[in-house]
Assembly symmetry: C2
Homo-oligomer: 419 residues x 2
């Protein structure tokens, strides 16, 4: 874990895909004991792409860093009973379930009979219980028709599963709030969070829904231009592409100065009758501004532009591929305390992000890798449920639970690291 | 507020743009008293697009719902002193600053002299303090080269400020964790959260950074296809575009059944030697699968497809514009408890989202609209600092503070609603 802040909090995670595991990861990195339950041999996302060639899923191991893993066969009544016991085990910071895989034996109603102060958080597609994933919610937001040169006939989906990500962090926030509320009131809480509500909620908070409801002129796709202010991409004489933003007045003045455009901008303002100090005028006049800036940027090599922009305090960035980000950007390196080198069994040695927030008055811990499936089965059954070695051995014997020996990638995990 | 969960928590917000205001909004909707400080007449984002024609910013009013507003002239020493006093005022759930606008007089070091157990949360561009906004971070992630038909020469920026959104919710989570930690230890906390760390952290958690570091084949832009599983957009015979996802095995089987493709898929599997029950094979064979599904979808009108897909439990969604979402999708309507009709001064009557999480055991409150600038100046100075009416009057007289009469949109705000 990165920070010992949520110590004592124990969460049982029954999950798949992105939103729920990322929520659990967040809680784990801030100190909670997140015990991820999986089927023996792995759930539906245990082998999800990308994978190490012939080996483990980088997707799964990335989303499950620092959790404990218990493998249980929930097709057996004894397995279901064990999982229920784990969720409802005593402890004033325990009794918490995080799931996106609804099952009657893990329903709030069922579990709260055993522990009335249960906190459960269920992530769902739509709030009516119908299925939806990030992609089938996103198509309804209107964003694909506004992205790039997207249109009704050629919408452009986002690739980042942004609604899953927003959902995960809201769920982590909500669980923390619920834990605090239970401490004060003694009452459990049932949290339900629908991906569609997350998406449309964000759109309400960003003003898009009200803009449309008031029948303001409909937005159109404007490529890489920033809506409402000034910003877009430019290409240097040596074919490097950069993104430039002038959202604040200070950023705008820095940009004009760096490009030597003070007189030109003043002349345009006078001739056209606009005030580019005002954000809305910059947006309206963005084609003119972009033309002037491209003349400057396109005439000089990247190194010159970078030096000039940095000296003037321009807000800008270089376009990179993921490979370039990893190999060339110092923000993704061990020089950044958010990242540390870890060794994931079956994947190898690689950088991994801990908590993105820096609590600068606290020691920052190491980032822990993902477990093998069932790596903590025995210790969890002993610690949380107080089962004896003999009882645990019997559960193994009846194939109700399993340890890491049943992880299908165990052999790759014990081989020398890949990288 | 939606839920009375963070009652007693008092946060002073000094912010602009998206991440910090959205963090404050989140805390306010879950019951915190979020007091947003603004300059008299408004800060740099008070008039940000989109705006009601001749009226207030829909952007600003959407991001500041349910907060209290105090307008202070911080160019005057007295104004700075007032703001410091507000942040450091007594109360075991007070003493919390949320900002993305660093200023020495509001630095943790300065403020903690007055209140050693201060909690401050600073949202920044890069962790070295250099400027960055969502757009100038996003260009470095590699996502624009993977979006739509994006490439190195024609990257496609996302339009949703996804990193701002992810940052906001993480910051709300972090502040809640810090409040809990202070209660237990008595110690204040300094939280710093860089937009670039949020973005690259998410990319680490989703596996993209490790995939690139291990030099797996670089991902390419694949349009609207879902990476790693099966899903993409299809067009019905009456030109409706839908997004279909088969991420889980159940979703895949439902899709095959709904499209009457059981035999065709089995034949392809046999002929090509793949197993589409496996996610990775579906991804690899997505062109074949898509061709078969488009034949089915393209031959029938939308109503038939929708009925058939719903009956079989296919995971799918309709592409909509923002206007269509608002006018046609019941998930954005008063039928959804997340949304309620509110009246925002100067904007009019419109639907607005409260908390996206549903705490189903708690009463759900009304969503409060954004304040006028300085609407709560007097009550905050009285309640939090205990100033008398006479003292507050003197502050007004010296133009150190202002009430809503100095809101530039006050006249539109008191006019009849627009819609």
């Amino acid at each position: 874990m990165t920070y010992d802040l949520l110590s004592g909090v124990r969460i049982i995670e029954s999950s798949a895909f992105i939103a729920a595991p990322l929520c659990g990861l967040t809680l784990a990195q801030y100190g909670a004991d997140v015990i991820r339950f999986d089927l023996i041999g792995g759930g539906i996302d245990y082998g999800r792409l990308p994978c190490v060639p012939g080996g483990r899923s980088i997707y799964w191991t990335s989303l499950n860093k620092g959790k404990r893993s218990i493998a249980i066969d929930i097709r057996k009544p004894e397995g279901r009973e064990l999982l229920q016991a784990l969720v409802t085990a005593p402890g004033d910071r325990g009794g918490i379930l995080l799931t996106n895989v609804p099952a009657e034996f893990l329903s709030h109603r069922t579990l709260s009979l055993r522990r009335p102060d249960l906190i459960s958080c269920t992530i769902e597609g739509n709030s009516d219980g119908s299925t939806a994933v990030d992609y089938t919610v996103n198509c309804a937001t209107g964003y694909p028709m506004l992205t790039g040169r997207g249109s009704r006939d050629a919408p452009v989906n986002h690739v980042l599963p942004a609604w899953d990500v927003a959902c995960a962090y809201q769920a982590a926030f909500g669980l923390t709030v619920a834990i605090d509320a239970r401490r004060r009131t003694g009452s459990g809480q049932t949290l339900r969070i629908a991906l569609s509500d997350v998406a449309f909620g964000v759109m309400s908070h960003l003003g898009l829904l009200t803009e449309a409801a008031l029948r303001l002129p409909e937005r159109e796709a404007i490529g890489n231009d920033i809506y409402g202010a000034f910003g877009r991409d430019f290409v240097t004489s040596d074919h490097q592409r950069i993104m430039v933003a002038a959202v604040s007045l200070r950023q705008w003045k820095a940009l004009v100065q760096a490009c030597g455009l003070t007189d030109a901008i003043a002349a345009v303002e006078g001739a056209v009758g606009v005030h580019f100090d005002q954000e809305a005028d910059r947006f309206e006049g963005r084609a003119i501004i972009s033309g002037l800036i491209q003349r400057f940027v396109g005439a000089k090599p990247f190194a010159t532009i970078a030096e000039s922009f940095n000296r003037s305090g321009v807000c800008w960035g270089l376009y990179r591929s993921v490979s370039e980000l990893v190999s060339e950007d110092s923000r993704v390196s061990a020089a950044n305390p958010v990242f540390t080198q870890i060794e994931t069994p079956g994947v190898g040695a690689h950088l991994a992000a801990g908590a993105s927030i820096r609590f600068t008055q606290m020691p920052r811990g190491q980032t822990s890798p993902a477990p093998l499936l069932g790596q903590h089965t025995d210790e969890v059954l002993n610690e949380v449920l107080g089962l004896s070695s003999a009882s645990i051995g019997e559960l193994h014997g009846r194939a109700v639970v399993a340890g890491p020996e049943r992880d299908p990638w165990r052999s790759t995990a014990t081989a020398p690291p890949v990288s």
